[in-house]
Amino acid sequence: MALLEMNHISKSFSDLEVIKDISLKVDEGEVLSIIGPSGSGKSTMLRCATMLETIDKGEIRYLGERVAWVEENGTKVYPKGAQLRKVCSYFGLVFQNFNLFPHYSVLKNIMDPMVHNQKRDRKESEKEARALLDRMGLADKADAYPCQLSGGQSQRVAIARALALNPKILFFDEPTSALDPELTGEVLKVIRSLADLHIAMVIVTHEMNFARGISDHVIFMDKGIVEVEGTPDEVFEAEHVRMQAFLGKLEH
């Protein structure tokens, strides 16, 4: 059974159709990378998967269960309240610009959702949060506030915050696009280490070597459709004009 299935998804913003009938699925422990030029609909696809945007056509399934869909007559069916929170507990999302809570310390950013939303024991949550920070190489930053962190550190805190809730699948929306090359390296290293944990990941990224190295499956999107997909080698070696042009541009 797939962890996530998105079937025949379409999405428009006013007149602009940014996703045109795309389907994808993610299995347990699988790492899927979505690459493609800016504006190709990669991030929108992620935002649809995480319920931040509503789809115009298609259906989304988590763990085989249909959680959001559009009826024949165009009615959108989305979970609400407790049901929505249950669906959201299946996944975590790491944003391009972190979205840490600035008024909470690093530790509280990670702990507060555990304690307040998952009703877990405070002591145990703190222990786990500190262990996660340690894993991220940020053990000494527990009491710092987000404004005192570098971009790379912020992003690692954001990853720890998402991991703390034990998601089955972790989404990354261009996690390094706001970072310089050095900071990018430290964040990518952390993400790579997660792949060893065997947690399923969906990564929207412009880091081609990283995507090629880490992924089980790669999707190349352009103008709202999937142009090429397959194993990293299949995709990166594909004799696809648009794909090669995209990669070629990156080498300048």
């Binding site: 931040l52 959201c88 944003f95």
Partner: protein, 216 residues
């Protein structure tokens, strides 16, 4: 009248000014938040009604609103106006008037919050109400504090408008003494009292701002 008696009477008036000030804040700050929710409501009718409410309260003099609240029950419903009603009417008029200003301040703060904060909170499992109470509101407070300080300082001086209902707050008393003694002294003393009152308020607000400076 000796200087000491004058000061005592003014101090008594100051206490009443302070009680108007504190009660108005106590009621208008929460009421303002409620009004701001109405102002931002998805329901068009609620939104329009609240818009009109704010527009009238900000568009007419507070002194006129004081008179309207105080005499309204008599002119509208022929009710007898009792002696305790004066103070109640003052608190109602001030609270409602200030809630309109605070509502717009809250709205500016709430609307300035980046959507990413709501999105992160949603995906981390916060309910709508906890998102507001735990994530959004604390940050809004920090953002709007300078504007709130402005309003609060204005309120200190506005308490003197209770004079229009002959309520014995500091300004009313100063004017009475001044008329009786044909002296300008009471006004100078009252001015100093208001100034010190405001200095204390400004100092406290600055302390709160500093206390919230631990993050940006």
């Amino acid at each position: 009248m000796s200087f000491q008696v004058m000061m005592e009477q003014l101090a008594g008036g100051l206490m009443k000014s302070i009680s108007i000030f504190l009660l108005t804040l106590l009621f208008s700050l929460p009421l303002g938040l409620l009004v701001s929710f109405g102002r931002m409501s998805k329901n068009r009718i609620i939104r329009s009604v609240v818009w009109v409410f704010i527009s009238i309260l900000r568009g007419t003099p507070l002194m006129l609103q004081l008179l309207a609240v105080y005499f309204g029950p008599y002119y509208l419903f022929n009710l007898k106006i009792g002696s305790t009603w004066r103070f109640t009417a003052i608190i109602i008029a001030f609270s409602v008037n200030y809630s309109a200003y605070f509502a717009e301040i809250y709205r500016s703060g709430i609307e300035s919050m980046p959507p990413g904060q709501y999105e992160a909170a949603k995906l981390l499992g916060y309910s709508r109400s906890s998102t507001f109470m735990r994530i959004i509101f604390p940050q809004v407070v920090k953002r709007i504090l300078p504007s709130v300080t402005n309003e609060v300082i204005t309120l200190v001086k506005d308490t003197s408008l209770a004079f229009s209902l002959a309520y014995a707050e500091m300004f009313t008393i100063a004017k009475q003494i001044a008329a009786k003694e044909t002296s300008f002294m009471p006004f100078i003393a009252a001015a100093i009292f208001y100034y010190v009152f405001n200095a204390v308020v400004a100092f406290l607000m600055e302390r709160i701002e500093k206390a919230l400076n631990y993050y940006t």
